[in-house]
């Protein structure tokens, strides 16, 4: 068993193609990801001491045990987790915490979701008004309030989050947000696992269907099916494995999960800023690296308006400097801090529970030098970030193995 101070590594990791998988159910997708991660790490289910299992839309169905019934009922503890869009990162945290605590020396985490064809995930339906007005709920509402007292739809919530940044610091515009989307769609052309890998011009993005100004359809995360899985191993166990396994292992230098501390307006418009900044601060401290050391970042661009604020929250730029930072070209794949070279949630897709492990896969694949056409040359350190409203923020910092 690993001592509590031992370091932690990704031994094996895999993601499925994101997109439409009508012939596969949740268990099929999860099985493909888990089988891939185990094979990638050169291990089997019998080596696993714990499973962190993530699925949001069927969170009461025990996806971890469903997976075991297909791939191996070894009797180990399963933690089924649901934490909004941070579900995958939370599942990974379960494996990380178990190995770090010394309860086992290898753990499995996976996240899976089927979302193809899903429309608005929140505010997608509204109850009819009743026949007589009767106050109910914590606001004593006599009728549904979505669309009457602000909006519950995510494209609108995150639109306001980007607009609030613009109000505070200036420099934002419809065109600026669309340019962020243009970048991610451009990046996606090199990613064969992305749900959408078509280049889009700025004109096409701005001229597409408006969902919630300033977010048009291609500026919103793409609903799709997908799964991702990772095997976490302790440093002491890794030393007993083959040199090839050690060479390809990726170090987990920081693994952090935060929730939003109370802020004046956080129950009016979700505050995705404070908890991200807190998570990033803790992660840089834990890893002993700074934002200037990052060779690539996969951050939670659930909407183009969200990507902008996270440049600032993750301290990739100075406070208030996100617009200038983006306009400098820094976040394009040939820039100083490439962001979302996978195409991001806007084009790679966002099968919710898979996202927080798929972004780790993306960074790990670059650190291993196995990213093919979209390889960021010489990548040594990378950061992943997810936000789940409610709220939860997961940040992981990963480092290449020392040859």
């Amino acid at each position: 068993m690993a001592p509590a101070s031992d370091d932690l590594w990704i031994l094996g990791i895999h993601m499925t193609k994101f997109g439409k998988h009508p012939e596969m159910d949740l268990v099929d997708l999860a099985s493909e990801a888990v089988t891939g991660a185990l094979a990638d790490g050169g291990v089997t289910m019998k080596d696993m001491g714990v499973i962190g299992a993530g699925n949001l839309m069927a969170a009461n169905a025990g996806i971890g045990q469903q997976l075991q019934k297909q791939l191996g009922q070894t009797g180990i503890p399963v933690y089924n987790v649901a934490n909004a869009c941070a579900t995958g990162a939370t599942a990974l945290r379960v494996a990380v915490m178990a190995v770090k605590a010394g309860e086992c020396d290898m753990g499995l985490a996976f996240g899976v979701e089927k979302l193809s064809g899903a429309g608005l995930l929140s505010g997608g339906s509204r109850k009819d008004d009743g026949t007589t007005w009767t106050p109910s709920g914590r606001y004593g509402a006599v009728a549904p309030v979505d669309g009457r007292i602000g909006t519950e739809i995510m494209p609108g919530v995150f639109a306001q989050i980007g607009m609030e940044y613009g109000h505070k610091y200036g420099g934002t515009s419809f065109e600026l947000f669309a340019k962020i989307s243009e970048k991610n769609h451009s990046h996606s052309t090199l990613n064969p696992l992305a749900a959408y890998s078509k280049k889009m011009t700025l004109e096409e993005i701005m001229g597409d269907i408006m969902i919630a100004y300033p977010n048009t359809r291609p500026m919103c995360s793409a609903n799709c099916d997908g799964a991702a899985a990772a095997v976490v191993v302790s440093g002491s166990k890794l030393k007993t494995l083959s040199l090839e396994q050690q060479r390809r292992a990726v170090k987990i230098s920081a693994s952090i999960l935060t929730t939003d501390p109370w802020e004046e307006s956080c129950q009016i418009l979700p505050d995705v800023n404070t908890l991200t900044r807190n998570a990033a601060t803790q992660a840089y401290e834990q890893a002993g690296v700074g934002p200037e050391d990052l060779n690539l970042v996969e951050l939670h661009d659930c909407f183009a308006t969200a990507e902008l604020v996270h440049y600032d929250n993750l301290m990739l730029c100075g406070v208030g400097g996100a617009v200038d930072f983006f306009n400098s070209g820094a976040t394009w794949r040939d820039g100083t801090t490439p962001v979302n070279v996978s195409g991001g949630l806007e084009s790679k897709g966002h099968p919710i529970a898979a996202t927080g492990i798929a972004n780790v896969w993306e960074v790990a694949t670059h650190l291993r030098g196995e990213a093919g056409d979209r390889q960021i040359e010489g990548a040594k350190v990378g950061l992943t970030h997810v936000i789940g409203l409610g709220s939860a923020c997961g940040v992981h910092i990963l480092e290449k193995a020392a040859a």
């Binding site: 608005l120 602000g150 306001q160 419809f174 004046e264 129950q267």
Partner: protein
């Protein structure tokens, strides 16, 4: 005049319609919903506090795609009313980025949401441009 009921219990109708919040007597944090305790300091004593009826738009979106039955487009916003953040629609304004701007000054206004089978009107609120 028809009998009226507010859309939510934190809207006070009458000659001068306004919003009211549960204010923590210890730290001053304000909440519009029924509370078990204060999310900031954990104390459980609150007083009702009236919210100023004018404010500034700190963020907005123009929703063009919504659930069936929700009329679009509509403007959803975060309004800063003297330091208290309020979620609301912007009303009595053209729902386009030429007429709705960050930082615009607004005031509370009420409107009829609908009438039930007993003839009671539900009254909702929004914010409209000041001086408009």
């Amino acid at each position: 005049m028809a009998k009226q009921i507010p859309l939510v219990d934190y809207l006070v109708l009458g000659d001068e319609p306004h919003l009211t919040a549960n204010e923590c007597t210890t730290c001053g944090a304000r909440f519009f919903d029924r509370r078990n305790a204060c999310a900031n300091c954990g104390r459980a004593e609150f007083t009702r506090s009236d919210i100023t009826t004018t404010g500034e738009v700190r963020a907005f979106t123009i929703v063009a795609f919504a659930a069936p039955g929700v009329p679009v487009p509509y403007v959803a916003a975060l309004v800063d009313c003297g330091g208290t953040s309020v979620r609301a629609n912007l009303i009595n304004v053209e729902p386009d980025p030429e007429h709705v701007t960050l930082g615009m000054k607004v005031r509370l206004a009420t409107q009829v949401v609908g009438t039930d089978t007993e003839g009671t009107e539900a009254i909702g609120f929004g914010f409209e441009p000041l001086g408009g």
